[in-house]
Subunit: 236 residues, 2 copies
């Protein structure tokens, strides 16, 4: 008879935040010992689910317990269940010590959220255990967490293509064309032509130019814009 | 210490097919005994995963084993893990008999595929165990399978909104405006105005009218159309 999988279920959270110039992902610190001695690396906030909680509840609990962050719109996007995802001995040793249980195979249900990384959000984070790392500077993470982040970014891209207003939720209330372009470039994963982008903005009636300009900058002060959700909702 | 979930992982497949007039879902037959005696009902094709297979592999295996259907583009869309999804005693009894194992909680990774329900696809189906049931005529299914079908339809709708060519994959090579409208109504879950729809078709350069008309019909013979993928790809 073929063996059924002796599974554990975990959830992992990819919380992405835009701080005005960088897209960052919330990671937790991990340390332990392996064949090469002590190590310090990072992983996504994630853990096994409890018997009496639903998946969405587990996601909110684990994120809050491990990072301090709460009340973010976590959304399930994909489940990762490759039998190779616990191939790395370091991960198994770390996990069995952390969970005090024998672990054979783990299927993880991944969630993402994308938030404005403002001062209030920064204050929520428990700096002892968690850190906002620029997406471009993430090293090799535990398990398949690099893959999970890559897939989360794909989901974010699809969301933004369906609903462009998500971009504006991530920006400050007053933003420059350059900030909007930087964010769009990060989300779409490619550089955008500056002149074409300005033309594009001028064709978005819901991106409203303000009289106000940047202050105290070395270069030519850029104009601020604001997002008008009412116009956006009626113009689609 | 809080109890970790003793989980089993299953996969469930929602295979939807359009036969030219109905959207049907592929279900498998289930029978057993409960407190009211013998029963016959239906469920989605699904089962627990094996230790040595990945999730996508399990989905293809289970679908083929239970229905005979293979080579359909199964796509993971959502994982269902409510602790209440095995609340129904009938489901637990059936499952423990089928799996010969004690089952506490099952998290299921759901897949969908949408296919053209033509003669070749009909021939694949093992009629002893499986059946194509019109989506509107599906009764109360095992576990939370009615919910899983509803969520699959939402995913299909999103897919079609992103890529309208999926609709045409489901239609016969030559189709009438009425067939296209029926399919669009089913996918979007609402009636569409006939005149507006004809106008809409005339604005789709990739829906090409043919000289040919329906034959042997009681009503006025409708014109056939064909889908031109080249025009579609260049016109978006």
């Amino acid at each position: 008879m073929v063996r059924l999988a002796n599974n554990h279920i975990s959830i992992d959270c990819v919380v992405l935040g835009f701080d005005g110039s960088n897209l960052r992902v919330l990671l937790v610190k991990r340390s332990g010992k392996d064949e090469n001695g002590e190590y310090n690396d990072m992983k996504l906030p994630g853990s096994l689910i409890y018997q009496d909680e639903d998946l969405d509840e587990a996601a909110m609990r684990v994120l809050h317990e491990l990072t301090g962050v709460k009340d973010v719109p976590l959304q399930q996007f994909k489940t990762f269940g490759s039998k190779d995802r616990t191939r790395n001995l370091r991960d198994i040793v770390w996990l069995e010590r952390a969970q005090q249980a024998h672990v054979e195979r783990i299927v993880t249900v991944a969630y993402f959220a994308i938030v404005k990384l403002d001062a209030a959000m920064q204050r929520l984070v428990n700096r002892e255990s968690a850190e906002w790392v620029p997406v471009g500077e993430v090293g090799t993470l535990a398990f398949d967490h690099n893959l999970i982040i890559a897939e989360a970014l794909k989901s974010v891209r699809r969301e933004v293509e369906n609903n462009r207003s998500i971009l504006f939720d991530l920006l400050p209330k007053k933003f420059t064309a350059s900030q909007l372009r930087t964010l769009a470039e990060i989300i779409h994963g490619k550089e955008l032509d500056v002149r074409n982008f300005h033309k594009k903005i001028s064709q978005m009636p819901y991106v409203v130019p303000l009289e106000e300009r940047q202050k105290g900058v070395a270069h030519r002060a850029a104009r601020y814009f604001k997002f008008d959700r009412k116009i956006y909702n009626t113009s689609r």
